[in-house]
Assembly symmetry: C2
Homo-oligomer: 197 residues x 2
């Protein structure tokens, strides 16, 4: 495993985003990215296996942070609450200070099917890792899968709002709001007994 | 657009699944697939742009069916109910009679990251198409996005159960059950007023 170099990863990602925007993902070379970032190809390949991975440089750190928060979470809480608290903590630590870069990154990914498929694959892998972390706490496997899936959908809803032009609220605050939106969408269980009058 | 040939598509998919299982996705050629299916390469490329697409032969028909059901859905229903009814109708029409093939297909896709990324991309595109169909009915864009996302998560939960070894219940019946599981996972809104005693 290469040593963690936040400066290099951020600079390479910023350079790659600029170049993908200017001339497209396909036409951009790793040589151009490192030149723009003022770094060497050796540094690039210390961090990324290929050109596509440059936009996913934080995904393994993100996963480790979330899994760590879940492992340390309050044992008395239901699984969904444990995951949501983990996502809120990580929102402050890893995302809040880089909204502009994350917004730019989303736009570039959305414009490129090859990058979008990779993003969705990372998302699915993170969901599975969260479910595994919940099972490791002794949780029921089906409940773990459901809590992980619902939390990741809430995160997607919150990210969508957080990266919207003009949005200024913190990601931490948009996460519980996303959960409320999902509850409202699901509505009341038609098979549940009616509320007392 | 090529003419729809359900027999050819099913035979090509069945042959491809067998070969991907026996020798892997990478090592299988289109020539081998058409030979196993007793068809020609011309027929293959009438239906699929490349080898990866052979497992996604039904995705555009699936999308058209779901969108058609949504467009014809009861205008008085909330968006989530409209989508769930569409998914239930399509479950009977397109999936119920081919559980063994769908189960096999899922196992092969899960074993191959390249196919899994494509599957996730199709899933995201279908979610977006469902949201667009709800907006076309005059629905609020955010509500349409939320209903489409929740319904697709419910479908994923239901498919997971339906393809489990030994499961005999119909997909149509597992869909509302999946929705109930999601409701139970989300639980009660902690900011909502308490229920009357």
């Amino acid at each position: 495993m290469p040593r963690w170099k936040p400066g290099a990863v951020d600079r390479l990602q910023a350079a790659a985003l600029e170049l993908f925007d200017e001339q497209g993902f396909e036409r951009t070379t790793v040589a151009e990215i490192v030149q723009r970032a003022g770094l060497t190809q050796r540094t690039f390949f210390n961090h990324f296996s290929d050109k596509r991975e440059v936009l996913f440089g934080l995904s393994s750190e993100l996963q480790q942070e979330i899994i760590g928060e879940i492992a340390a979470g309050d044992e008395a809480l239901p699984p969904l609450d444990v995951v949501m608290r983990a996502l809120e903590a990580v929102a402050d630590k890893m995302f809040e200070h880089r909204r502009a870069v994350v917004r730019h990154r989303y736009a570039v990914i959305a414009a490129n099917p090859e990058l979008l498929e990779r993003e969705l694959g990372k998302h699915a892998a993170l969901t599975e890792a969260i479910a595994a972390a919940l099972r490791a706490r002794g949780g029921d496997p089906e409940a773990a899968y459901l809590a992980a899936s619902v939390a990741m959908l809430a995160q997607q809803v919150a990210f969508r709002a957080w990266t919207r032009p003009g949005e200024t609220r913190a990601l931490r605050d948009l996460l519980p709001e996303a959960l409320s939106s999902l509850r409202a969408t699901l509505g009341h269980d038609p098979e549940a007994p009616p509320l007392p009058a």
